[in-house]
Symmetry: C3
Subunit: 273 residues, 3 copies
């Protein structure tokens, strides 16, 4: 990995330095966001029929019309569903799960699996593998499409710098993806608070529950409820206004604390809470 990176940087730098162009220095590109949406199908003549699209966080959306029975059994999938939609990324579990929640609201699908690798490409958090079950492949595809479209928004309150990250998620009405992944009560407002390194997360969680009267659905930390990530995480439910208030208070404290370990953490897209 590092060797590749060194090579990549070298190539870019040498390209810039080029033929003694002193203008080179002034042509350094403006900072691009740390995770940028991937453009699919660059120069490929044909893509497998399973391909749906890509999005921020090295997220890919796929669909299998008819999962092979041998694999279907090994994966432990519900036998009702032969068609599956697949949404998975290297960076982020919360954004993908929130996006999947919107997808199940909008389509005739069910979230049948949520698996959380330890990932984020050297960062402190999770990646994700989410599987939608559907009776019709068109439903599975539609669910994946909706989820991919939502990701730009659900990465909005993810803030990162070199030392860690913060994540805040809000929905006025939790659906089946949030119920499956986090035990969120259906139809109620739901909030998610994540802070990494975990020490910062603990203070964010405490700030949230002190800021408004919310129900605490769950708490996760490196040794319990995570895949050994360096995060402290809180799942809250309750009155819509209270949940938002808790999130906003936690966000303010989290950004101030994470700033003490590096640059001021920036939203990966645009905040929505």
């Amino acid at each position: 990995m590092d060797e590749q990176l060194v090579q990549k940087v070298l190539e870019q730098v040498m390209k810039k330095v080029g033929a003694a162009s002193s203008a080179a220095a002034s042509s350094v590109p403006a900072g691009s966001s740390p995770v940028t949406e991937q453009v699919a199908g660059r120069g490929l003549t044909s893509l497998p029929t399973e391909f749906v699209g890509t999005a921020i966080g090295d997220t890919i959306g796929l669909v299998i019309a008819n999962v092979d029975p041998l694999l279907h059994e090994k994966m432990g999938l519900d036998s009702r569903y032969r068609s599956i939609g697949i949404l998975g990324g290297r960076t982020g579990a919360g954004p993908q799960i929130m996006a999947a929640d919107e997808a199940v609201k909008a389509t005739n699908t069910e979230v049948v699996a949520v698996e959380l690798p330890r990932d984020t490409k050297g960062g402190a958090g999770h990646g994700s593998l989410i599987i939608f079950g559907a009776e019709e492949v068109s439903d599975a595809r539609r669910a994946v499409e909706v989820a991919l479209q939502e990701l730009e928004r659900t990465f909005g309150d993810v803030y990162a710098n070199d030392a860690g990250h913060l994540e805040f998620q809000y929905t006025a009405r939790a659906s089946h993806a949030l119920e499956k992944a986090f035990g969120a009560p259906l139809g109620k407002a739901f909030g998610l608070i994540v802070g990494a390194p975990a020490a910062i997360g603990v203070v964010c969680c405490d700030t949230a529950v002190k800021a408004a009267e919310v129900q605490v659905i769950g708490y996760a930390s490196p040794a319990k409820g995570t895949s050994f990530t360096n995060e402290a995480i809180l799942f809250i439910s309750g009155d819509s206004g209270a949940v938002r208030q808790a999130l906003i208070a936690a966000r303010e404290v989290g950004i101030a604390l994470l700033s003490t370990l590096g640059d001021k953490p920036q939203s990966l897209t645009r905040p929505y809470i």
Copy 2:
């Protein structure tokens, strides 16, 4: 992360270079393979007697002639073996396990432990720690030497880009390392399919079992059967031709899908399947 780093380095370098030299451009080094074999013993006057060699994937081969009884017990090693060979790397478990399988075929040793850390230096997969047991230290050393030599080949169908990796392994006749690590039937053809991020791996696995009539020995994913890696993995067995056919079909689809998240993934050495 990497994007930020590239940007950071670029900025620093451009600041230093300023109005640079035209000679520089022509001295860009030819692309080196992302993981290159390490040269051992650079400038060291003496190496511990335990040292055997190094190879691709930050892999090191070591031997202990007579493991201290206190440690032997704590490691839970089989009491028959006082001598052990040790093969471990930062990047790759599959390549090292395949190499160990050739080593046990060629020597009077047994694979007594296969442990899979979550590693690959910020990548999506595993590292490895493999221990050979032997009655004679010369056997342990020989096993490690054989395995180190095999790694150049067994990394051949590992393909990586910045977003993830794919791995395909094949042997016409599985031996005891593959039996221990994956439950592979002894003496039969064996195939391994790995895709990361896991979403891509799921489609690779499905493609493989649809492409040929093979037995599915096992399936692993971020939450089950891996050390929380962002991989979906399939272990297959069966007729030699069928196993190869399944691997080749999965490889084609995997490369096309992983290309949608970045550059076309390249073999780390030279494909052998």
Copy 3:
């Protein structure tokens, strides 16, 4: 890691660009240590009252005077303690635990939780989340302050290069943090040996127990006793001189072996053993 990489790339690039602009070349900054102490509060107008300080390893120290009862319960904290001190980092568990041990010796606090994420920002080891319980917030704060101050020292026998790391820790008298984290006998000399990749760690552990008569308290490896890190770890106790002798022998072998996979590993601060 990233700092090392930036430095490495810079050096390579400057070598290439070099000759032309000699002024540029001479202005390359001297190598800074791979993990440098973070300066807190850069330009922030106000920090949350919970903030105590930061230190090497992206470590942050925090305090909560009165943990919210809802969170307190979910975190499973001892009901005696309403005030907690929090010490957590991205890189390093051993250094923070050793530092916490000095902190509990010096203050009226208890270590109520030690959680070990899989981290080190793409490296092979752990991060940390350590929680001190106290009846008075001033005690919790003091414990965190002491621990932060100790870190410069406890990172002294951590050695790293691009391929892995080594860690050695020693105390003449183990206290409650080491008892809780590693089962160290109270009041006795204690030593910690860590090698990554794990293959190197195994040889370090074997070297240590052969070098002096020590008690082996525990052994941890990727599949057992770690959070799937690529490390082999040994916990030893016994006579003060013997423990030091074991550590010094393991350190010598470890540095020689890790050097075969990259540059000679350097202390992150200054060796103390």
